[in-house]
């Protein structure tokens, strides 16, 4: 034994003169700025997407309705309620929060005698830590639980695509589609916003699972025109996509197109995948006027139910505005044919070149069939009615677009001015650009709209693409006069538009007369909206119908007019939009089924 070993330990006692290191007042001591304490939620920013619930491994989070928060497009009206009998404060919910509204504060003291008290909705149930700033927030930099940027879509270059009407969006490859589908958080907020309420998270999941047939079935549950919608849908879903709150929204439309593109254009295959081979006939007949999206949609869902469908098309091919309004470079004809062929294969009879009201009357249809659906669409162009607009070189965009499709001769001048800021205006602008390019080798086209750049109704990408292709787009000017010299159109005189609507939200544009410009052009194309042609309704029928504002036929929620056998839907009821038309068609089909089976 070493004697040193007996005395060295006593050095310990030197500590006795040092002050204790104890924390004076430990209760409520401030935790570190990054501490993962109790939850707080900015309920105004939160959209109730439920990703926090999905990632919580303890099932600690419930989504509950909250008073004062309304369910609306892009906001489920639900807010996370957290059970502190489950939570483990891992903060995965914060890290994945799509809106960054959910955070943890560095407060950590909660003592209670009641075990049922530890359940609360952050931000709604007021807590002492709601005002605390410090606490766990989503880490930076480059820390993401899902992809923030969209997988870029491969497109033809502007120079290339303006050469022809070939579809320029190439579509996703398998790898790209899966990568894009992987970004989805499967919240389902988009479903409500989609007019057809498609099962978007489900078909995106089908892409991840590489199960295209399942994806196809999900698509056809609500939308019988996936090829078409996958290209030209106005994708309202993407506007509310929760991934898009911080980052790029998911390209839902391209993913839909990806699924539809994977299935070969073979109606037998379609029938096999969608289990529609042996639909039983129920011996009832329905006539459908028009072959646009709403008509096709109602035809599809009615024939699934066993109805015998006859469709009447004025033009030589089916598709309505989709074929005759939308240029081929956006929606190639084989895509339209693919969707329509399948619907036809279910036993739908389409009678082409038959104009109802002229070749056959509505009453006849009523007699021959149990019910009639009319989805006749908006095929009449509206005029600006400015001086000179009645000149023969002033055209309507709908007419020109239809002519391009039917192959009729389309007048193409060296300089073209287009009036309008909607998608149709962009379509005609870009179609004319292609025609100019083909005829003259150069593009010289000016598009002007009343609306300024930021409120232009056209899709942003359309505008950008049009500019890339060499079109000049000058928004914010109101046309005043088509200038005519020597009986020839030479240009369009415009004024700067200051505001479009007055205080009462009525259309009443105000102009700045000092800012006047003249757009030179040999022809002017008006594209400021379309009107409907209801000439097929006889006077008797019209008497039985109720009309609402702006000449629209009044229908109930199920698109049934006041003549019970007559249903109307699509653009003539809801305004121009493909996906709305499809939704109308589906709803009307179900209503027709209900109507016809009431006696059963």
């Amino acid at each position: 034994m070493n004697i040193k070993d007996v005395f060295t330990p006593f050095t310990t006692w030197s500590k006795v003169v040092k002050d204790p290191v104890t924390i004076k007042n430990p209760i409520g001591r401030e935790a570190a700025p990054r501490y993962r304490g109790f939850h707080k939620n900015d309920i105004d920013v939160c959209i109730g997407c439920g990703t926090c619930e999905a990632i919580c491994e303890n099932q600690a989070i419930d989504l509950v309705p909250v008073e004062g928060i309304e369910t609306k497009s892009g906001d489920s009206g639900l807010r996370p309620r957290i059970d502190y009998g489950r939570c483990c404060w891992c903060a995965l919910c914060v890290d994945i929060c799509t809106t960054n509204s959910l955070n943890l504060t560095n407060e950590y003291t909660w003592v209670d005698t009641d075990p049922d008290a530890f359940i609360f909705t952050p931000g709604v149930d007021k807590k002492s830590w709601d005002t605390k700033e410090e606490g766990w927030k989503k880490p930076v930099p480059n820390y993401h639980f899902y992809g923030q940027t969209r997988v870029p879509m491969e497109e033809l270059h502007a120079e290339e695509r303006v050469e022809s009407f070939v579809e320029f969006v190439k579509g996703y490859s398998k790898k790209q589609a899966e990568e894009e589908a992987d970004r989805c958080v499967a919240c389902g907020i988009c479903t409500a916003t989609c007019p057809a309420h498609m099962g978007i998270p489900d078909y995106i999941a089908a892409i991840r699972n590489e199960d295209m047939e399942e994806g196809m079935r999900i698509l056809y549950d609500t939308n019988p025109l996936p090829e078409i919608c996958g290209r030209i849908c106005t994708h309202k879903c993407e506007d509310v996509c929760s991934v898009g709150v911080n980052g790029d929204p998911l390209s839902i439309r391209w993913l839909k197109r990806y699924i539809a593109d994977q299935i070969p254009a073979d109606v037998d295959k379609y029938n096999e995948i969608l289990y529609t081979k042996d639909i039983k006939n129920n011996n009832k007949k329905v006539a459908i006027i028009g072959t646009g999206p709403s008509s096709l949609s109602s035809a599809y869902y009615l024939s699934l139910l066993g109805y015998k469908i006859t469709m009447y098309e004025k033009l030589p091919q089916a598709g309505g505005m989709m074929r005759y309004g939308i240029p081929e470079y956006r929606l190639p004809y084989d895509a339209i044919d693919k969707d329509i062929d399948y619907i036809v294969s279910l036993g739908v009879d389409i009678k082409y070149n038959v104009t109802v009201g002229k070749d056959i009357t509505l009453e006849q249809l009523h007699e021959e069939n149990d019910a009639v659906f009319a989805g006749t669409g908006l095929h009449l162009g509206r005029s600006t009615r400015i001086p000179g607009s009645d000149h023969e070189n002033v055209y309507q965009s709908v007419d020109l677009l239809r002519d391009i499709v039917t192959g009729a001769e389309v007048p193409v001048e060296r300089k073209v001015v287009v009036i309008g800021g909607g998608n149709v205006a962009m379509d005609i602008t870009r179609s004319m650009a292609r025609l100019q390019k083909a005829k003259y080798g150069e593009v010289n086209i000016i598009t002007t709209s009343l609306e300024s750049e930021d409120i232009m109704p056209a899709d942003r990408e359309e505008v950008v693409e049009a500019r890339e292709e060499g079109c000049t787009i000058i928004p914010g000017y109101g046309p005043q006069e088509v200038m005519i010299e020597n009986g020839k159109v030479v240009g369009l005189r415009v004024w700067k538009c200051l505001s479009i609507f007055d205080e009462n939200h009525n259309f009443n544009p105000k102009f700045d007369e000092s800012d006047e410009r003249v757009f030179e052009g040999d022809m002017v194309i008006e594209s400021i909206g379309q009107g409907m042609d209801l000439s097929y309704l006889s006077e008797d029928t019209k008497k039985g119908l109720e009309f609402g504002p702006r000449g629209r036929v009044q229908t109930n929620d199920n698109f049934q007019t006041s003549l019970p056998w007559l249903f109307m839907g699509g653009d003539i009821i809801q305004g121009p939009d493909v996906i709305h038309g499809i939704a109308n068609g589906h709803r009307a089909a179900m209503a027709i089924d209900d109507f016809l089976n009431q006696g059963r």
């Binding site: 997407c49 509950v64 009206g77 289990y275 639909i279 139910l305």
Partner: protein
């Protein structure tokens, strides 16, 4: 690692040899050769450190996969010797004589997967559970969530809503979201 495997593969008729990297490999060996191979690896190939004995339930193949994981402290590499045994009345030769800690693993596997190791000491004793009457708890077909819910009464008064379904009920209760078909079989 490769050369060791080359040496032993013909000897033990190994199937499904997978080399993960230079330091890790997994081999599948027949049940009756397994303990012999483990002994051989210990005595002649320098795998003197026994790391782990584990079991994986491949319920879809109706097999249990036993794993003997050995470490070679000299070459610093790991070999996993896998044996597939039947899922019904699983049984395996005991290896408790090779290393002193193996009987613990065998006792655990007996409790967790119901595998019998005849001759292993204290094999029938409880390991982690006490008074367990259900099926072995690590088998895939034992549903722990169901068991917990039935046994331990979770606190009531909680309910949740799926955003998509909730929005549908709120915003468009009448819009059809599935395609109805007039068919017999659906």
């Amino acid at each position: 690692m490769k050369e060791i495997l080359d040496r032993i593969t013909p000897k033990y008729d190994l199937q499904d040899v997978s080399i993960k990297d230079d330091l890790q490999a997994y081999v599948v060996v027949e049940k009756k050769l397994a303990i012999d191979m483990v002994t051989y690896m210990r005595d002649y190939e320098g795998f003197s450190h026994f790391v782990l004995m584990s079991c994986v339930d491949w319920i879809e193949d109706n097999k249990l996969q036993l794993l003997y994981l050995l470490n070679n402290p000299e070459k610093k590499c790991v070999i996993g010797i896998k044996v597939f045994i039947d899922r019904e009345n699983p049984s395996m030769q005991s290896a408790h004589h090779l290393w002193k800690q193996i009987w613990t693993y065998q006792r655990e596997l007996r409790e967790a997967f119901g595998i019998d190791f005849p001759g292993s000491p204290r094999i029938e004793e409880n390991f982690v559970l006490e008074g367990w009457t259900d099926k072995p708890h690590m088998l895939r077909d034992f549903d722990t969530n169901k068991y917990a819910e039935e046994t331990y009464f979770p606190r009531t008064g909680r309910s949740t809503n799926d955003p998509a379904t909730y929005m549908r009920q709120k915003l468009y209760p009448n819009q059809p979201v599935t395609a109805k078909k007039n068919k017999d079989d659906e």
